[in-house]
Amino acid sequence: MVFTPTNPQKAPANLKKRDPLHSQLSRPIAAVLVAGGLLLSAAIPLRADVTLTDKQFYRQHIEKEKQKKNRTQGNSPRPAGMLTVMATGSQSLIDGSGLEWFINTNITFLTSSSASGAASEASYTHAVAASTALGGTVSTTLSDLFDGYNSIAISFNGSTGPVSTGSPSYFIYNNNGPCTIDADSGGREVVLPPRLINGIQVQRKVFVPAGDAFCRWLNIFTNTTGSPATFNLITSNNLGSDSNTLVVTTSDGDAVAETSDTWVVTMQNYSGTTSPDPRIGHVLGSENPSVGLIRNNFANGDDNPYWAYQLTLQPGETRIIMNLATGQPSKAAAQSKAAELAAAPPSIYQCMSPAEQAQIVNFGPAYFTVEFTAGPNGSLAGDTRQTIPSGGATSPVTAIPDTGYRFGDWSGSFTTTDNPLTLTYVQSNLWFQANFLNDPPQIQITSPADGTTATGLVTIAATANDDSGVERVEFFVDGIKKQNLSVNPSQNSPQRVLTGSYQFSWHSYEHTNGPHVVRATAFDRAGAQASSQITLNSLNVPVTLSATRGVERTWLSNKPFIKLDIGVTTVTGLAPAKFVIQKKTGNGGFQAIGEFLPSELQNGRYTYADILSSTTETFTYRVQAVNGSGAVIGQSPPVSI
C-alpha cells in the first residue's frame, strides 16, 4: 500500500491519510513506550485509531522541540569535544547564515518523510532580506522550510519511490537508537547509529557547518553479506511549501527535474508578493558521478519530491550517497548556492574522513590545486600546477638547481627535502617552493706548508674554484684582513673565474715571533664563502724603536731633532748585515734616512738623531734589519712622533 502524504490545508477532512502502520496497535505504541522517551510519548497519542497527517504530526513535534529548546537554551549546538548521546527528538544546528536545522534523531514511528536523520524543520533565527515577487526584498524571518526532509528508505526490488510507510518495497531508516554528536566536528555533526537492513548496514551522518549555509547528509551503506548487493536509495520529503511548491529551476536551466540534474531549486510560490518560506536548493550530486540519479521527481504543487539512486555493493564494500540542501532568502541565492555546492567545493567535505570522501559515489571527488614554484637559482621539471582529486597523488616535480647551486628543500605548505617531490593523498590546496642553495667555493692554501717557519717576506699561495665563479679571495693573518684580491672578470669568460690562483705577500716581520694563523677566504658570486688556513711560525730579528723630540743647541746653531732609540735582539740563525732607518714620506712610502751596522750596536742599542727643520710636523719612522741579500728579516713597528 502506497501512502502519499497530502496537504491537509486542501484535503477534505475525510480524506486525511491514516498511516497504516500507526494504526497497528502493538508495534508503534510499544515502540514509542519502549524507546521513544517522554517527548515523543507526549507527541504521539496512545490510541490505536490515531490518524495524523505528516504535517500535523510534525507541527506537534516541532512545537515540542521548540519548547524543549527554550527550556535548555537549545539554540546553541552541543559543545565541541563531547560525545553526546541524544535521546529521541531532534538536534538543533544553526548554519552560518542563521538558518536553524532540526535533525531528527531516534525516530521510532514509521513515517515516510521524517525518519531518523531527516530535517523536521528549518527556520531562520533572525529576519532576512527575503525576495519579493516585485523584485525587491522584505525583512522577515523565513521559516517552515520543511515538514520533513531527506528521509531515506532502501528498496531491494527496484522500486524508485515514492516511499510509503508499510510498503514491503521500502525499508525506512528508522528505529535505530539514540544518535551521538561527533566530537571531532565541533558539535556540528549528528551521527546516527547504523541499522542493518537485509545485510546492508545503513548509517547516516548529518552535518551543518558554522561557517557556511547548507546541511549535508551522508548516507553510508556497507554490504555485510558475502555476495554483491544491489538496491535503490529513495529519499522522501515533505516541503514546507505545501501545495504552493514551485520548481524554480534546475541545474540545466529549466524547471523540469531530470536525472541528469545535479540540483533543483524550489520555493513556496509567492502569495501576493511575498513567500514565508526559505527558498530551497536541493543538491543531489555533481557532474559525472559514478552513481547518478535513477529518478528525480519534483513537480509544481507537489510538496513531496523524491529522488533515487541505485547502488551495487561488493561484499564488504562501503559507499556513500551525499545530499545537501541550502535555505536562502531568494531564488537567485538558492540557485547560486546550489550550483556552488554541486560543484563539490572543498567546503562540502569538511568534517569527513579521507575514507569517507573516497566512498562518496554521487559526487565527483574534491579537487585540489597543488602548485610548485622554483625559488631563485633553479628551475622545475614537471607539471608545476596540478589539479588533484581528493586523496590523489601528484606527478613528480623535480627541482633542478642552476650551475653552482644545489637543491635545498621545498617550503610552503610544509617542508620536505624530497626531490623529485611526489605528494600522495592530497587533501587540500598546496603550494611549494623549491629552494636552492649555493655551493660554497673551494679554496686551498698551497704554499707554504702548514707549520713552516716564516722569515721576512713570505708568499702565501692559494687556489680557489667555484662553479658559479670566484668573486674574490681575502687573506687574513690572525683574523685581520691583510689583502683583498678581487677577480678581474676579463681573466675568464664570461665574467666568471671558475678556478684561479691567488697570492698574498706576507710581511712576517710585521708580526711578533711565534705562531700566526694565515687564512685565505674565497667568496663566490652568490656570497658563499670557504676558507683554508695554515699556521706559520714567524721568526725575524726583533727590532724595537722609540722616539723622543728635543732641541740641540751649538754655538751658532739651534736645531730641533727627533732622537730614535733602536733596540735589536740577536736571533740565532739570523744575521742582519745592516739596519736601515726609514722615515715616512709625504706619499706614504718610507725612505731610508740612515743606516748602521750591527757592530755599531752598543749592548743591542743604537741612537740616531733626525735633525729637523721644523718642530711642528709629525713624522713616522721604522727600522729594518736587512740581510746580506738585501732582504728584510726584521722590522720595528712604525713609530710616529
Binding site: E552, T554, W555, L556, S557, F561, K563, A609, I611
Partner: protein, 183 residues
C-alpha cells in the same frame, strides 16, 4: 786664506822697503778664554791662538800696528754628541804706546779695531759670517839683543753678532808670550 796671504806680502814688502829700525814684527801665542758661554759649552773654556803683528813707530813712543790671528776648535753637541767644528779669525788695526823701564826692559799698550770672521760646522750645516769689534791690550817686552825681543801680552778681543736670533760673542780674554824683531 787669499786675504791673509796678501796682507802678509804687504807687510813683508813694507818691511824690506823701510828697514830703518822703526818697524817691528812679532809672533805671539795666546791662551784665550772665549767670551761666549755657548761657545765654551761646546768647545771648552780655552783655546790657543797665534797672532802675527806688524808695527811702525811714528815717534819715540807711539806706533801703529796691524795684526792677524785665529783660533779653531772641534767639539760635540751637548745632547746628541754630534761633531762640531768652529773657527774665528781676526784682523786688527790700531795704535799703541811703548816705553822703557830700562835699557832692555820696556812695556807697551795698544788699542785697535778688529774685523772678526767666524764659522761653525755642526748638525749638518755650516754657518759663517763676519763682524767688527775692538781690541785692547798691553804687555812687557825684554830685548835680548838690540833687535830681538821677547814679550808677554795680556789683552781683550771683543766682537758680537746675532745668529739665529741669538747674540754671540767673539774673541775673549787672552794672554800670550811672543817673540819679536825690530827692523
Amino acid at each position: 786664506m787669499k786675504a791673509k796671504l796678501i796682507i802678509t806680502m804687504i807687510l813683508l814688502s813694507t818691511l824690506g822697503w823701510a828697514a830703518d829700525g822703526k818697524f817691528q814684527v812679532s809672533l805671539t801665542g795666546y791662551y784665550l778664554v772665549p767670551a761666549d758661554a755657548n761657545y765654551k759649552n761646546i768647545y771648552g773654556n780655552d783655546v790657543l791662538s797665534p797672532e802675527l803683528q806688524v808695527g811702525y813707530r811714528f815717534s819715540e813712543n807711539w806706533y801703529g800696528f796691524a795684526g792677524y790671528g785665529f783660533f779653531s776648535k772641534s767639539g760635540e753637541t751637548p745632547i746628541l754628541k754630534e761633531p762640531t767644528k768652529s773657527r774665528q779669525s781676526f784682523i786688527s788695526l790700531g795704535a799703541g804706546y811703548m816705553g822703557k823701564f830700562s835699557e832692555k826692559f820696556g812695556y807697551f799698550t795698544q788699542a785697535g779695531a778688529c774685523m772678526f770672521h767666524y764659522q761653525e760646522e755642526a748638525l749638518g750645516e755650516t754657518i759663517k759670517d763676519s763682524t767688527v769689534g775692538f781690541r785692547l791690550g798691553g804687555g812687557i817686552r825684554y830685548h835680548l839683543t838690540q833687535k830681538l825681543f821677547l814679550q808677554g801680552t795680556l789683552g781683550y778681543l771683543y766682537g758680537s753678532d746675532t745668529v739665529n736670533e741669538t747674540k754671540i760673542k767673539l774673541g775673549g780674554l787672552q794672554a800670550g808670550i811672543g817673540i819679536g824683531l825690530t827692523i
